[in-house]
């Protein structure tokens, strides 16, 4: 468990803490000794366990230290920069900083970074990086500008990754943030644009970073009080400039969103971060340790006298300026396991996830509570996100919506394909928004009908009628039977009135007229499009195949000829498959003209005959209507239009046939009911055989 130990303060008599706090706290080459640089002229070396300063050095009056002093771990010397260009190097024995080694550089230094086992690196304000040795060999060498003019370095950090020094720094320009990753050995520099929330522009976010495999995990505390994580690849694969990076939420609302300054954070280890800031708008500032993995607050400490909003972490010790004092809080994180915490040995091994039934999670499906994603899920998502987000210019749903409002059909299609290529957690809701946007424009502009886009969206299988109520109406207006067929197959919740409207359209003659036209159109879809269009055209082929199958059915069964064309049969089959409630469907069925009713009845009767033509009572084909569906529709149709059908001379024969059929059905069922009793008796007899009875003696060989 992570814990904060008893705090203690270091006397800061010689240090002058400005309103901005200190410049920095850095580790020295001896454990337990730290260099503290104030914002004025002084550097103090503290021995923390003794709580006392070991040495103190000041620059002359009129000079100001501009970069925190660091220790060169290879030589044990200390380095500081004053007045931005003057480098001073000294060691413990030196007393006066004026008399120590001095080098004046040709450009302004932003910071010097030093870690164990490597030479210190000097980062210049214009983004150039030099090793200390190389710089000292020729102090007046020309320093190039790496970053554009208006960008200002806000934060930087230095890591050793597989013995390779890596420097990351973040710059700001007009409220936009950019991250640079500099591999010092290979001199390669990659630039990334950090996409922050809108609200971040006004306030400076806090950054901290950690190396996580091949990524630098950049953690930022934003002004809404949440902690976000951005994964930056250390070795960028392609040379393309200006990648965009999207951040992922790591912890929610750890500090009050209202806290403008006085907040800071630092990564402690893989799972813990320390956050400085007020947890509630009105409360005092707090130092809190959060476990990122379990999203829990581990411990926190109130700091009533206020802080400078700075936090340093070196060698298991946290430093901060509390009131006027430099406060030191040792931090410990002992290895603990959940089993140890819970005190049981129960789960020796996680059960395999395959045994779990798949379950629809309503809350995430409907986008009802997206915030409650578990840490693990979001972690994997985060990884996914970075992979996809490295591809340039993937439109967000908002951008897509604006494109939908204004751009051409073609452009929308291209953007939509890009959008569909990635899957986000709230995919459902976003798709819904996109469809709503498309339909809105359809209604406003009668000429606008993005057929391909809509087809693609329907085929994502996440749409339902209630999510896009206007879609089928528009398809009906355009008599787009193929889309209607797709909708009927995919949507689980089509209202009966719409189903019936589709049926009417399918039975009407207009479709017959349009048949030729449709054929041409689909041919274009099949042949004329680029391979990009693959998914769409493949499905189209499938759609076209189905009527073909139906055609085959007709030839293989010479019982009677099919009263409708294969194409129409496929469409009607889609209607037969759709869900309905009798009470709601009946009134709509009454509106169908008599001619179409006879046709439909003929077709249903034809299906029935074919069904009963084989032993399994099923129809061939990909998804044929079942016998009960056929029967239900016949009943419904007759119920709704019985008087009408009676009057039509064409239907007389059909009715007679149906009557015969019903009669035979009734006799079959009554026979079945009669046998049911006998069957039950048989079953009982069968059970008795296996039953051991009330008492029995058996021989059982055990192992």
């Amino acid at each position: 468990m992570a814990a904060l130990e008893e705090e203690f303060t270091l006397s800061t008599g010689v240090l002058s803490a400005g309103p901005e706090g200190f410049l920095g706290v850095e580790q020295s080459d001896k454990a337990d000794q730290f260099l503290v640089t104030d914002s004025g002229r002084t550097v103090v070396l503290y021995k923390v366990s003794d709580q006392k300063p070991l040495g103190s050095w000041s620059v002359k009056q009129g000079q100001t230290i501009t970069c925190p002093a660091v220790c060169n771990f290879q030589t044990g010397e200390y380095i500081v920069v004053h007045d931005q260009k003057v480098l001073r190097i000294w060691n413990n024995e030196d007393v006066n900083l004026d008399k120590v080694f001095k080098a004046t550089l040709s450009a302004e230094v932003h910071r010097i970074h030093s870690v164990q086992k490597t030479e210190p690196l000097v980062l210049f304000q214009r983004g150039a990086v030099r090793g200390l040795e190389a710089l000292l060999a020729e102090p007046q060498q020309n320093i190039e500008a790496v970053i554009p003019d208006e960008e200002v370095i806000k934060w930087s950090e230095f890591f050793m990754v597989f013995k390779q020094p890596v420097l990351i720094f973040i710059t700001e320009k007009h409220g936009n943030y950019f991250a640079y990753v500099q591999l010092c050995k290979s001199h390669s520099l990659s630039k990334y644009t950090l996409l922050l929330g809108k609200e971040e522009k006004s306030v400076k976010p806090n950054f901290t970073a950690r190396v996580d495999g091949k990524f630098i995990s950049l953690v930022s505390l934003s002004s809404d009080g949440c902690i976000y994580e951005t994964l930056i690849p250390i070795y960028s694969s392609d040379t393309e400039k200006n990648h965009r990076l999207i951040r992922a939420l790591m912890l929610k609302a750890v500090v009050s969103g209202a806290a403008r300054n006085g907040t800071a954070l630092t990564i402690l280890d893989q799972d813990h971060v320390a956050v400085l800031g007020p947890p509630l708008p009105a409360s005092k500032e707090c130092l809190s340790i959060w476990n990122v993995k379990f999203q829990t607050l581990q411990t926190s400490k109130e700091l009533p006298q206020g802080t400078s909003g700075q936090l340093w972490y070196h060698g298991e010790i946290l430093f901060m300026l509390h009131g006027k004092c430099l406060t030191v809080i040792p931090y410990k994180c002992e290895v603990s396991s959940l089993a140890g915490a819970l005190g049981k040995l129960k789960h020796t091994q996680e059960s395999d996830p395959h045994s779990m039934p798949h379950f629809v999670d309503w809350e995430t499906c409907s986008g009802y509570d997206l915030g409650s994603y578990s840490a693990d899920q979001s972690r994997t998502l985060r990884r996914k996100k970075i992979e996809t987000n490295l591809q340039p210019e993937v439109p967000g749903s908002k951008q897509l919506l604006s494109i939908i409002k204004n751009d051409s059909e073609k452009h929308i299609e291209v953007e939509l394909r890009k959008f569909l290529a990635k899957s986000t957690p709230d995919f459902h809701t976003k798709i819904g928004d996109v469809v709503a946007g498309l339909l809105g424009r359809c209604k406003a502009e009668p000429s606008f009908y993005p057929r391909n886009c809509l087809m693609q969206l329907i085929q994502t299988r996440v749409l339902s009628y209630s999510l896009c109520p206007g879609l089928m109406e528009i398809a009906l207006e355009h008599t787009d039977v193929q889309m209607l067929q797709l909708c009927l197959q995919q949507f689980p919740d089509i209202p009966e009135s719409t189903t019936c409207a589709c049926l009417k359209l399918f039975l009407s003659d207009t479709i017959q007229d349009e048949k030729k036209e449709m054929k041409e159109q689909t041919e274009i879809v099949q042949n004329g499009f680029s391979p990009e269009d693959n998914s769409c055209s493949k499905d189209d082929q499938q759609l076209n195949k189905k009527p073909g199958d139906a055609a085959k059915e007709t030839t293989s069964f010479p019982v009677t000829s099919c009263p409708v064309t294969p194409k129409r049969a496929a469409l009607i089959n889609a209607v037969l498959h759709s869900a309905y409630s009798e009470a709601f469907l009946l009134p709509h069925l009454k509106d169908i003209p008599a001619k179409h009713i006879t046709l439909f009845l003929q077709y249903l009767y034809f299906l029935y005959l074919k069904c009963s033509g084989n032993a399994t009572m099923t129809l061939p084909g990909i998804s044929p209507p079942t016998l009960s569906q056929i029967m239900d529709w016949i009943c419904l149709l007759l119920d709704a239009n019985f008087t009408v059908v009676l009057m039509i001379p064409d239907a007389k024969r059909l009715l007679l046939n149906l009557y015969k059929f019903v009669k035979s059905q009734i006799s079959v069922y009554s026979e079945l009911n009669k046998i049911e009793v006998s069957f039950r008796e048989l079953q009982k007899l069968n059970q008795d055989k296996s039953n051991r009875g009330l008492y029995s003696i058996e021989v059982l060989e055990l192992f």
């Binding site: 819904g432 009875g693 029995s696 021989v699």
Partner: protein, 687 residues
């Protein structure tokens, strides 16, 4: 390879009495109280692998109609005899019964703070009681209604109460006790007007919505401020009998007489709007008969009904770790032993709610090979049918090893009988003059030589009686540890008569030295309750099974866990062993094979051979009889310590009678179903 003659018995219970009437979930302790039609109340600990850790015996005149938790963890019930009862969860008895004077009580609800109880009576009165630390006290009557109050629900703020009656719902103001709103229900059901519409359940939400379920098959949402119907869901052709709402008020569950349980959730209408709507999301059909009661824990839907099953259906989206705890649980059989056997005389004693049956096992002269059913030379005899006196259910019973003593106990009386066998005749003689301290026992046990009787009373003390011919002598009483009154639920005595082990519901296992009559040691505490205890002959190793399926072996003479037990704990049990969902209810030993432990739960029995290596998660746990033709090497490689057989299930009892005979008592589910009243008939064919 021992070959056992196995006598198997199918036992019949009166199942109509065993249906579940109500359940009440306690969030604080994660416990579930379940009441049966015969008045039995059971407490399940959902944290301890759904173990039934306590039970209160039923009573003929006490039909429980309502059950609720108040003041944290105090349990109350009310029933058709017009009384409100409080249960003592420590001593396992009824603390007091209080007549509400309103005729039969149909419903009861505790206020959100837990400090008040309200009951709905046959005469249409709604009565408010204050819960005091020791008792409950009548406070006030609300406005009297025309007909019986079948359901009650408090507003989460505690200011209003909704009461479901026949044909209407009334809303009371708690302060004034007056009715402020009356909502009349529609009796129409699919165009047919029923004679009346019974409001089986109501739930009051904090936004003022009242949800009602009724006999017409509807779930309706009402606005209590205006008294108007907001929304109506027709979900069944039969009665909707129960409703329970989650604490967050984002989901609720209803149960119907068709055996279906429906889950409703508050879901946003569209992605952008904050407007939310109650949507019927998931139907579950785990019951064949009426779902009389439902409960909604933070992570699961709980339902129970006439078909005697208690079903716990976890909500996948609420379960964080997808392990075996997230699986559906169906609890059908009691988690305690109702059968005892006399090995020497080959007798079985069956314990029913109101009588005991003593059977003598049959015998055969034939032999056969594995799987044969042998012809009986003598069938099993029903020797004795012993009816209890009075309306109380039997708590526990025991027959001695020699078969000449039978003891049983009800909630207020203890009975001891002496049996004499003369050829085929049995004479029964009751031992009179039971001492005053022997009023009620939680567990009874005879020693192996039948000379001592151990009685665990519900006050936490253990009595030892010396049995003489036709009489007895009180030897000693082990008083409970100072400060505890927790009843001891399980006892085990060593075959040599030197040691007695006793375990309570939570206090751990104590071992007493019977020669010196003192506490010998206490087994290190474990988080999960004990489900079965036994002491092995010769070695005096105490074998303890816990509800999380762990089995420990503790050496009593050495006062420490045995090496084998340590080895098992070090390696851990097989995954599938830990995933079994019924507890081990009985442990026994083979007299000639000290390395064997025989134990069983409801769906399997297992012989643990301590000499063989333990299975790890990669080995197959259930390997029935390996084929004969396999080589020895293969056998040796696949053989492991757990020999499991699932031939007999559901298994109520299994024990070794002698070296070559096992007795098993089976309870086929079909028999239970057959005894139940028929469910609502659904047509099979189209006519």
């Amino acid at each position: 390879m021992p070959i056992f003659n196995l006598s198997s018995f199918s036992k019949r219970l009166k199942d109509k009495e065993w249906g579940i009437r109500c359940v009440a979930y306690n969030n604080q302790s994660n416990r579930l109280a379940v009441s049966r039609t015969d008045g039995t109340v059971e407490i399940y600990n959902l944290s301890a692998n759904y173990f039934q850790e306590k039970f209160f015996p039923g009573h003929e005149s006490r039909a429980t109609e309502a059950l609720c938790w108040a003041e944290g963890q105090r349990l109350f019930s009310a029933g058709l005899n017009g009384e409100i009862l409080e249960y003592d969860l420590q001593a396992l008895n009824i603390k007091y019964a209080l007549d509400a004077f309103g005729g039969p009580i149909w419903s009861m609800a505790a206020s959100p703070s837990g400090s008040q109880l309200v009951v709905g009576c046959e005469d249409g009165s709604v009565k408010l009681f204050e819960v005091t630390p020791e008792k409950i006290q009548f406070a006030r009557n609300f406005d009297r209604q025309k007909s019986r109050i079948l359901s009650l629900s408090w507003h989460p703020a505690g200011t209003h109460i909704a009461a479901g009656s026949i044909d209407y719902i009334s809303v009371f103001d708690v302060k004034s006790g007056s009715i402020i709103r009356k909502m009349v229900l529609d009796r129409q059901h699919l165009g047919v007007t029923k004679s009346r519409c019974i409001v089986w359940g109501v739930a009051f939400l904090s936004d003022g919505t009242v949800i009602s379920v009724d006999s017409v098959g509807k779930v309706q949402l009402w606005d209590s401020a205006t008294g108007t119907l907001v929304k109506s869901h027709l979900i069944a052709n039969a009665d909707v009998q129960s409703i329970a709402v989650a604490d967050q008020e984002d989901s609720f569950v209803v149960g119907t007489a068709e055996g279906t349980v429906f889950h409703f959730q508050l879901v946003s209408v569209t992605s952008s709007s904050s407007e939310k709507q109650w949507v019927r999301t998931k139907p579950f059909q785990h019951h064949t008969h009426d779902v009389r009661t439902v409960a909604h824990s933070p992570t699961a839907l709980i339902s129970g009904g006439t078909d005697t099953h208690l079903v716990i259906r976890p909500l996948m989206e609420k379960v964080e770790v997808k392990n075996y705890d997230a699986a559906l649980r169906k609890i059908t059989f009691p988690h305690r032993r109702l059968i005892s056997c006399s090995k020497r005389r080959q007798l079985l004693l069956f314990q029913f709610a109101h009588h005991l049956e003593l059977w003598r096992l049959g015998s055969t002269l034939a032999t056969g090979k594995n799987g044969d059913t042998l012809p009986l030379s003598k069938n099993a005899d029903h020797l004795l049918h012993l009816k209890t006196k009075g309306p109380e259910n039997i708590i526990c019973s025991c027959v001695s090893q020699c078969g000449s003593w039978i003891a049983y106990s009800t909630a207020s009386r203890f009975f001891l009988y002496r049996l004499k066998y003369e050829h085929d005749n049995i004479s029964l003689q009751r031992v009179s003059k039971m001492p005053a301290f022997l009023q009620s026992a939680v567990h009874i046990l005879f020693s192996e030589d039948s000379r001592k009787l151990f009685v665990a009373s519900n006050q936490g003390s253990l009595h030892i009686l010396h049995l003489l011919e036709g009489s007895f002598k009180h030897l000693h009483t082990f008083q409970p540890q100072s400060g505890t009154v927790e009843a001891m639920c399980l006892l085990a005595v060593s075959p040599d008569g030197n040691w007695l082990a006793a375990s309570g519901t939570s206090a751990g296992v104590h071992v007493y030295d019977l020669n010196h009559l003192k506490l010998h040691c206490t087994v290190p505490a474990y988080n999960f309750p004990v489900t079965a205890l036994a002491i092995a002959p010769n070695t005096n190793n105490l074998v303890i099974a816990h509800s999380d399926q762990q089995v420990f072996e503790f050496s009593i003479p050495d006062k420490q866990y045995t090496d084998w037990s340590r080895a098992v704990q070090k390696q851990g049990f097989h995954q599938l062993w830990l995933q079994r969902d019924t507890p081990i209810t009985h442990i026994s030993f083979h007299p000639k094979r000290p390395m064997h432990i025989l134990l069983h739960d409801a769906y399997m029995f297992c012989i643990i051979d301590k000499a063989l290596p333990l299975p790890n998660d990669k080995t197959v746990l259930y390997n029935p009889l390996p084929p004969k033709n396999e080589s020895d090497v293969f056998l040796r490689r696949t053989a492991h310590a757990f020999k499991i057989s699932k031939i007999y299930k559901p298994l109520l009892f299994m024990d070794l009678l002698d070296e070559r005979t096992l007795v098993a008592v089976e309870r086929p589910l079909d028999d239970i179903i057959a005894q139940l009243p028929p469910p609502i008939k659904k047509k099979k064919f189209g006519t």
